[in-house]
């Protein structure tokens, strides 16, 4: 006997998708539905809630197989548009990491560095259909005598190109401020001295893991929108920390769960995978991601009704504490306050600055909704869900 009044299976929801009867709403829209009807009625009506995020996500990259040359090569070093890729995999496989800078980049020698081109941009260029110049060096073996090749590659010519992001969709993150007396340039953006601004990066009530805070539906095999194509959650992400402190609604108050995601680069669109340059910090990749949450029961309806007011973000000093590994916060701001444009901190109005595009996340949630409604996208039932311990 189930403890829930509403009980749906993945199969039932997928049958509804196939027959066109499925009811899909975004994580913004479900809020009022649960408020008006209550979670049971909402769970009876709604089958899927779409969540999304579009923000710079380090810990991204792509596996690329660039095909053999004649004579054959065991590529031990690879550069793509002069950006080093890791080649210690196999003869013609490499992994291009999003944050790798191109060789001639002065980095922070001219401070703050501009970081105009790197791995994130290579991935974007490939998806945009541009030619990318590949250079590979080998040491020569009996089976792979070639010592070096150069060629232009395009995504359409590659046999495989797979986005593989070991950590995406962080469940909550920090709100960054700077207590020091000078402007600093961080992966959380530019932070003006003496708490001149407060930067944050999450799409709040739209963000996937806030809508399934205990990972009851997300795990290996969850089919997702990834960079404009179909991708999958394949593992829990690196730094996944389910035991972070939570508020009474189950929402973690500090960085918590993460997802490992993969997808085929060939399906992706350049508008949803964008190389980014963070001044003074480095290169990253803005990844558009959308996760459908199946409303299996009233509990899931209640979870997806989370609002920006329920989400608390810890305020962390990046001027002194963070670089010195001091684990400390200066209170919390709700996501609702952060999104309003200013927070009150120590009696002073501090302007808030997002790095995560809520406008674009909303677009992704709508696209995913449309895919499901038009029978283009079925839910993937996870083999196991993300660990809760």
């Amino acid at each position: 006997m189930s403890k829930f009044k509403v009980n749906k299976t993945y199969k039932e929801i997928n049958d509804k998708i196939r027959s066109g009867e499925v009811v899909v709403v975004t994580a913004d829209e479900i809020v009022d539905i649960v408020k008006e009807k209550g979670p049971v009625k909402a769970a009876e009506t709604v089958d899927v809630v779409t969540t999304a995020t579009f923000a710079p996500m380090c810990s991204s990259g792509a596996f690329i197989n660039f095909g053999q040359s004649v004579p054959t090569i065991r590529a031990s070093q690879v550069w793509l548009n002069n950006v080093p890729a890791y080649a210690g995999l196999a003869a013609v496989d490499c992994y291009i990491g999003a944050t790798e800078a191109c060789l001639e980049d002065p980095l922070n020698k001219v401070w703050p560095g501009e970081f105009n081109y790197g791995g994130g941009h290579v991935i974007h260029d490939l998806i945009a259909g541009k030619a990318v110049h590949l250079k590979a060096a080998g040491y020569g073996t009996s089976c792979y005598p070639n010592r070096g090749i150069e060629k232009d590659i395009r995504l359409s010519d590659l046999r495989q190109a797979t986005l593989c992001n070991p950590r995406n969709g962080y469940q909550n993150y920090n709100c960054a401020v700077n207590f020091s007396n000078k402007t600093i340039y961080t992966y959380m953006g530019t932070l003006k001295p003496k708490v001149g601004n407060a930067n944050y990066s999450t799409s709040g009530q739209l963000s996937p893991l806030f809508n399934d805070p205990y990972y009851k539906t997300i795990g290996l095999g969850t089919r997702i929108f990834l960079g404009g194509g179909e991708g999958y959650v394949t593992w829990h992400g690196t730094q996944h920390n389910p035991s972070a402190e939570r508020n009474e609604k189950g929402i973690p108050k500090t960085p918590a769960g993460t997802m490992w995601v993969m997808g085929d680069l060939k399906q992706m669109k350049p508008e949803w995978i964008v190389g980014v340059s963070l001044r003074g910090y480095g290169i990253s990749l803005a990844v558009g991601m959308g996760v459908p949450i199946p409303i299996l029961n009233e509990e899931m309806a209640q979870f997806t009704a989370v609002t920006d007011k329920d989400i608390e973000v810890q305020i962390v000093d990046y001027g002194n504490d963070y670089p010195n590994g001091i684990n400390k916060n200066y209170g919390f701001a709700t996501y609702d306050e952060l999104k309003s444009g200013a927070i009150v901190f120590n009696g002073k109005d501090v302007p808030t600055v997002p790095l995560s595009s809520v406008a674009k996340a909303r677009e992704i949630a709508e696209i995913l909704k449309d895919w499901i409604q038009s029978q283009k996208f079925l839910l993937g039932e996870p083999q196991f869900t993300l660990p809760t311990k």
């Binding site: 579009f54 923000a55 710079p56 703050p112 501009e114 105009n116 953006g189 530019t190 932070l191 003006k192 601004n197 930067n199 964008v274 190389g275 980014v276 340059s277 963070l278 001044r279 990253s284 803005a286 999104k339 309003s340 444009g341 302007p351 600055v353 997002p354 790095l355 995560s356 595009s357 809520v358 406008a359 674009k360 909303r362």
Partner: protein, 142 residues
């Protein structure tokens, strides 16, 4: 390396002096003349790109002024490549005039050119390099 586009106005009585040549000779600057005209009443207009160290650049501008030349910055404007902007909002941290601001509740980043002071801070802060400084005096170069 400091480089700027300048518009020089030479009053009629000054056009015969070789002042531009002196910029190289005395201040170790390089110049690229983009346009030079002498108008009917003998006053001259020259648009040039002047490059070198910032210190020398400033001295040179003072020298030009001392020679009676009217020096103006070839004006620039900031433009946004709408295809590149991902509406993240990072630029709003540095924009001093609120020309770049998030509109609520839709959360798109709006760019109000009339508020822009062309400080150029957004250019290197923009994550996708969507912001550019462009000269507004294109007609001069035709």
């Amino acid at each position: 390396m400091y480089s700027k586009l300048l518009i020089l106005h030479f009053p009629g009585r000054e056009v015969e002096k070789p002042v531009v040549c002196h910029l190289t000779k005395y201040y170790d600057l390089t110049f690229n003349i983009l346009k030079a005209t002498i108008l009917p009443r003998k006053e001259g207009i020259m648009v040039l790109e002047l490059s070198g160290s910032k210190k020398n650049f400033k001295k040179a501008v003072q020298y030009l002024k001392d020679q009676g030349v009217i020096v103006k910055n070839a004006s620039q404007e900031i433009t946004r490549d709408e295809d590149k902007c991902i509406h993240c909002g990072a630029c709003t941290a540095v924009c001093p005039t609120g020309a770049l601001a998030i509109s609520r509740p839709d959360m798109y980043v709006r760019f109000d050119k009339t508020k822009c002071s062309v400080c150029e801070l957004c250019i290197a802060t923009c994550l996708t390099r969507a912001m550019k400084a462009e000269p507004t005096t294109e007609t001069l170069f035709e």
